[in-house]
């Protein structure tokens, strides 16, 4: 029987084009939301040594790791570990709630009940709560119908986010293994401070 090595078995990686859209383009009022779909590179690092990839909703930007000890980012990812910018995660006030439902139907963020990165082993978003790992195909699939609501690092704004796909980066080195994961997600940031999207 052919032994299929872990990393060799990873299926071909496919991407859909990254598209950014701005909603409410047809309304005369100034848009208060930032909406987009983003693909970010995250360290494939089961050993937990690498840096987190940090993201800020307000201007859809990836934050340099040098700023990890600031309130400039909202959430971070490394392998399958989610962090938010609070307590053990960072100096900010970011919190998160994982809610069942579709992204489009999630029009109101909860005003209370956010979880924070209390300690490094009690994160706001528990590992394993949002994905399924298939040991046969080695696919990480974000569970469908999970919407992340965030309270941003400044504690004053809300954002919603849905993970769409987790894909392996190119196989490099020997043994061939991915060094990065591509997380695809869509999100909406409400800049006017209300919980309504």
């Amino acid at each position: 029987m052919k032994r299929v090595l872990f990393y060799c078995a990873i299926a071909a990686i496919s991407f859909t084009a990254c598209k950014k859209t701005t909603t409410h383009a047809h309304t005369p009022a100034a848009p208060t939301t930032v909406t987009g779909t983003k693909i970010i590179s995250v360290a494939f690092d089961p050993m937990g040594m690498a840096n987190f990839t940090l993201f800020r909703f307000r201007d859809s930007s990836i934050v340099a790791n040098a700023d990890s000890a600031t309130g400039n980012w909202d959430f971070g990812l490394r392998f399958t570990t989610f962090i938010v910018n609070s307590n053990a995660g960072g100096p900010g006030s970011a919190g998160a709630i994982l809610v069942d439902g579709t992204f489009d139907a999630a029009t109101t963020a909860p005003s209370t009940g956010y979880a924070y990165d209390t300690t490094t082993s009690a994160r706001a978003i528990k590992d394993g709560s949002w994905y399924t790992y298939n040991p046969t195909t080695h696919a990480f699939t974000p569970n469908a119908g999970k919407v992340f609501f965030f309270k941003t690092a400044d504690g004053l704004h809300y954002a919603k986010m849905e993970l769409l796909a987790v894909d392996y980066g190119p196989l490099v080195g020997n043994p061939p293994s991915p060094s990065i994961l591509y997380y695809t997600f869509r999100y909406t940031y409400q800049s006017n401070g209300t919980t309504t999207f």
Partner: protein
């Protein structure tokens, strides 16, 4: 409460009845076939009240097939499946071959017996059926539906009992076979009767070069192997009332293992082999106290081992080795009492099982005591048959298990037979569920059996291998796993008139406490996950099947079979009903709710399966041509849309046909030649069904010396 109501309903009257005619084209058989599996006593097939099928020696010969699973899958309601998808999570990263799915249940739930005694050596619940030589099979009896009332654990879906040949008049058979992929098989079989002593001897060598479906990957899809199968059976009439059977069976298999790994950041070839050995002793003393009373004393002993090693080719140093050794001792006593209008059987036995495996911590032993009893009543001029039976199993580590079964058969006239049966089945948690202590270093997870979970967790924590803050307290008193339990019913009807036989049935099985893996809520310090087992799933399987056989002419027989099957997880259905299951299209990223109609069911189950067979036999029986078409409908393979269930066509393996052909010609007295082709359409699916080899041609030469011995 459930138990109480079930006992009451059992007392009120339950039985188990139903029989199905074989589609073995045995229309010329003057004697009515006799089966033993359905009631543990010899019964004419026409009188059997439990769903029973026979595959005759003639069918096996006509088909020209060598592997048991290839023969079985030509019959309605039997599907050959690969080890299910969670297998690698269950601690076995490699596929473990193919098993039999009956009534939509996984291979672990069908008991496979040889002459009524268990075939030993399940790996991840699957018995490699390819290891059974078909050359000395007298007939295969298939009983569908919960059979725990007679056979205990592992017979929740049913029983496949392979009846081997018995000593007969002097006969010597030689068979030689050659097939694509340098697959060779040689058989010698000898039988004789001298006075009160009978002997049956059989030896088969089976070897193959294997095949490679994907040359771009180092190593073959199926590696070269060779199997030896031998059996010697002695029968002795000790006196007028006492008969003795002694049987010894040996299986010895060796298969190359040759693959590429990454060793210290360089590709390296590892080579070794897997060795599988099975030694079986069986004795039976039959005491006929009177014409109506019989006693059977049986002893079954088995020693099975599966060892493998692989060495790095360059340095000839050990890369990996595993071993799995299983021993079984099973003494049993059974009685049979035949009255005018009833037949009573009963018995008791002990099942002692020992396992010593590299993946378990230490040697493990299990002891089961069991007793069973069954009565059949024949009423209204034998138009009505009723059966009620039950079995008690007590294994040393869990509570008493009670498995009753009831059946009824009604034959209003010679054309019709109506049957119904209902029974409870169970499957005890097996060694891996309880004792596995396995760490997969490639993928990086631990899988720990429930009975060793607390000690292992404490040990990991003491050694500082658990992530800080891990709360192991809730897992320190993990309750032992409960047996998986099922309730199954079957209703059938059979119609026979002239050249036509039609048989149909509907079935439903509900299974609770199904064991599944779960992820512990904390990790090891190296971020590796830890899994264990729990009783969680509730599933059902239901469906309908129909078989029809029609003699178009004296020479031509046509048969058709179809099964419709649904197998679903009740917990998933509840979640769908509650609007909690979503799917996300992997291309458009559109997320929507899953409806009940979207949910296809458990993976590896085909809704539709179909078979058609055409046998042509010339008048003097010297030539026959046998054509079969087997269809397996689409079935779920793997989730792609983020909900871990099968609900999208892209998650399916498409349906496929297997066309087979064989033609046999008797050349001179005793000598016959057969040619054939299996998988004529050359269907292959390297990724999802690596056990399908592609098109195979074969030639069989049979030589039977019995005419030399017999007086003319």
């Amino acid at each position: 409460m459930l138990r109480l109501s079930f006992i009451i309903s059992f007392i009120l009257f339950y039985t188990n009845v139903f029989s199905q005619k074989d589609s073995s084209f045995s229309k010329t058989d003057a004697m009515e076939e006799v089966v033993i599996t359905s009631t543990r006593t010899e019964t004419k097939l026409g009188n059997v009240a439990v769903p029973t099928k026979i595959i005759s020696k003639k069918y096996i010969q006509n088909s020209g097939l060598l592997k048991l699973q290839d023969i079985l899958q030509e019959f309605t309601g039997i599907t050959v499946v690969n080890s299910n998808l969670t297998t690698s999570l269950n601690g076995y990263p490699n596929p473990f071959g193919q098993g039999i799915q009956m009534l939509g249940l996984d291979p672990a739930y069908t008991a496979v017996l040889i002459d009524g005694e268990p075939l030993v050596g399940r790996n991840a619940g699957i018995l490699k059926l390819g290891r059974i030589a078909t050359g000395n099979i007298h007939q295969i009896e298939i009983v569908k539906g919960p059979s725990s009332s007679l056979y205990g654990s592992e017979s929740m879906a049913g029983v496949i009992n392979i009846i081997t040949a018995n000593p007969s008049d002097q006969q010597l058979d030689l068979q030689s076979r050659i097939e694509t992929n340098k697959t060779l098989s040689q058989t010698v079989a000898y039988a004789n009767h001298i006075n009160k002593t009978g002997i049956q001897f059989f030896v088969n060598r089976y070897s193959s070069d294997g095949y490679d479906l994907d040359p771009s990957i180092y190593g073959k899809t199926i590696s070269p192997f060779r199997d030896w199968n031998s059996n010697i059976k002695l029968t002795q009439q000790l006196n007028k009332k006492t008969d003795l059977i002694l049987s010894y069976r040996n299986f010895n298999s060796k298969q190359d293992c040759n693959y590429m790994i990454d060793w210290q950041s360089n590709p390296a070839v590892v080579k070794g082999y897997t060795s599988e050995k099975d030694n079986t002793f069986f004795t039976q003393l039959t005491y006929k106290a009177s014409a109506r009373n019989k006693l059977f004393f049986r002893t079954f002993a088995d020693h099975y081992s599966n060892t493998s090693f692989a060495n790095l080719e360059n340095t000839d140093t050990r890369f990996d080795e595993t071993s799995f050794i299983q021993s079984i001792l099973k003494p049993e006593i059974q009685f049979e009492n035949i009255g005018n209008k009833r037949k009573l059987i009963g018995g008791a036995g002990t099942y002692i099982e020992m396992i010593d495996a590299s993946r378990y911590s230490g040697k493990k032993q299990l002891l089961t005591l069991y007793t069973f009893m069954q009565n059949e009543w024949f009423l209204y001029n034998k138009k009505l048959t009723l059966i009620a039976g039950a079995r008690l199993d007590k294994r040393n580590d869990y509570q008493l298990n009670f498995s009753p079964r009831a059946a009824i058969a009604y034959k209003p006239n010679i054309h019709w037979k109506i049957t119904g049966s209902a029974g409870f089945g169970f499957k005890a948690p097996d060694f891996r569920h309880m004792y596995l202590d396995f760490y997969n270093s490639q993928i990086g997870y631990s899988l720990i059996g429930t009975d060793v979970l607390s000690t292992q967790l404490l040990q990991l924590q003491q050694q500082g291998e658990l992530a800080s803050g891990a709360n192991i307290t809730p897992f320190l008193n993990t309750p032992s796993l409960l047996p998986e339990k099922s309730f199954g019913t079957h209703i059938g009807a059979k119609y026979t008139r002239n050249k036509l036989t039609v048989e149909t049935g509907i079935f439903r099985n509900d299974i609770n406490n199904l064991i599944d893996v779960y992820l512990l809520p904390f990790k090891k310090t190296n971020y590796r996950s830890i899994y264990s087992y729990h009783n969680i799933n509730r599933i059902f399987t239901q469906g309908a099947e129909i078989d029809a056989q029609y003699c178009i002419s004296k020479a031509i027989t046509l048969s058709l079979g179809y099964q419709y099957l649904e197998a679903k997880d009740k917990n998933i259905l509840d979640q769908i009903k509650a609007g909690k299951v979503y799917k996300r299209d992997p291309v458009t990223y559109q997320t929507t709710l899953v409806t009940r109609d979207n949910y296809y069911g458990l993976s590896n189950r085909s809704h539709h399966s179909f078979n058609a067979k055409l046998l042509w036999e010339n008048k003097n029986k010297k030539t026959n041509i046998f054509i079969r078409a087997i269809y397996r409908g689409q079935y779920g393979y793997s989730d792609i849309n983020g909900n871990n269930i099968i609900d999208d066509d892209r998650e399916m393996v498409k349906g496929f046909w297997n066309l087979k052909f064989s033609a046999e010609r008797k050349i001179i007295h005793g000598l016959s030649a057969q040619i054939g082709c299996d998988n004529i359409l050359n269907y292959t699916n390297p990724a999802q069904m690596p056990d399908i080899a592609g098109r195979l041609f074969f030639i069989n030469i049979n030589y039977s010396f019995n005419h030399l011995f017999n007086k003319h």
